[in-house]
């Protein structure tokens, strides 16, 4: 989930912040499996995607 360049430098419980486009179930799962935390935006309406 995390770019390979960066992964080795993160600590357990490091927070990863990204916008809503990568906010998908499989990505969030990968972050949790890596023992990292995340902060992201949530797409509330379908129409938000076009903004």
């Amino acid at each position: 989930m995390i770019p390979y360049q960066v992964k080795d430098f993160l600590r357990e419980d490091s927070i990863v912040v990204f916008d809503r486009e990568p906010n998908r179930k499989e990505n969030l799962k990968r972050i949790e499996n890596s023992k990292l935390k995340f902060l992201t935006a949530r797409q509330i309406n379908k129409s938000d995607k076009s903004t």
Binding site: Q5, V6, F9, L10, E26, R30
Partner: protein
């Protein structure tokens, strides 16, 4: 009144030289070019230019190729294509260079946290010479142009140090670039 005075930002140049030394960029880049022009002098000059005016490589070559600037970086005048050759060399060795820079950054600074921001943006290419350029969905309504997507990771405030950069063909779906 027009005059022949020349101005360039000596403070920026000193800062570039200071951190170039502190982060051992001479060793990191020097190992990829041992002959010909000094890659480190060229890169110090190019970094100084990009932190000052940040325009094209062509303009960077013109900016650097002034007697006083050349003296500051111990350079002889050079052709524009020299800068392109240096950048090509860096691009060809980018994986190793980025890894070396990362290692140096983490060995030099004791970061209080390693929390990161990640983001991506796509660029339209106005030429078709870039091997990574690819036709794909254009947010900018230019479907006829090729694109690349660049992603960057940085340790967030108050540290604000970039630690990773990726380039992908076309306008990739952001989640797919999160590998």
């Amino acid at each position: 009144m027009p005059n022949e005075n020349l101005s360039f930002p000596i403070g920026t140049i000193f800062t570039v030289k200071k951190y170039y030394k502190k982060l051992s960029f001479s060793e990191i880049l020097g190992k990829h070019k041992k002959r010909g022009r000094n890659i480190n002098s060229l890169m110090e000059a190019l970094l100084s230019y990009k932190l000052t005016e940040n325009q094209s490589i062509t303009k960077a070559a013109t900016w650097i190729n002034r007697e006083e600037v050349l003296d500051t970086f111990n350079l002889d005048s050079f052709e524009q294509r020299t800068l392109y050759r240096v950048l090509k060399l860096i691009g060809e060795n980018r994986e190793e260079i980025i890894a070396d820079v990362q290692t140096m950054i983490f060995n030099t600074f004791d970061f209080k946290h390693i929390n990161i921001n990640m983001d991506w943006t796509s660029f339209i290419l106005y030429d078709d010479k870039c091997p990574s350029g690819k036709h794909s969905y254009s947010h900018d309504y230019q479907p006829g142009k090729e694109q690349i997507t660049a992603g960057i990771s940085k340790i967030f405030s108050p540290i604000n140090v970039p630690i990773g950069m990726t380039v992908h063909e076309g306008n990739v779906e952001r989640p797919d670039s999160l590998r």
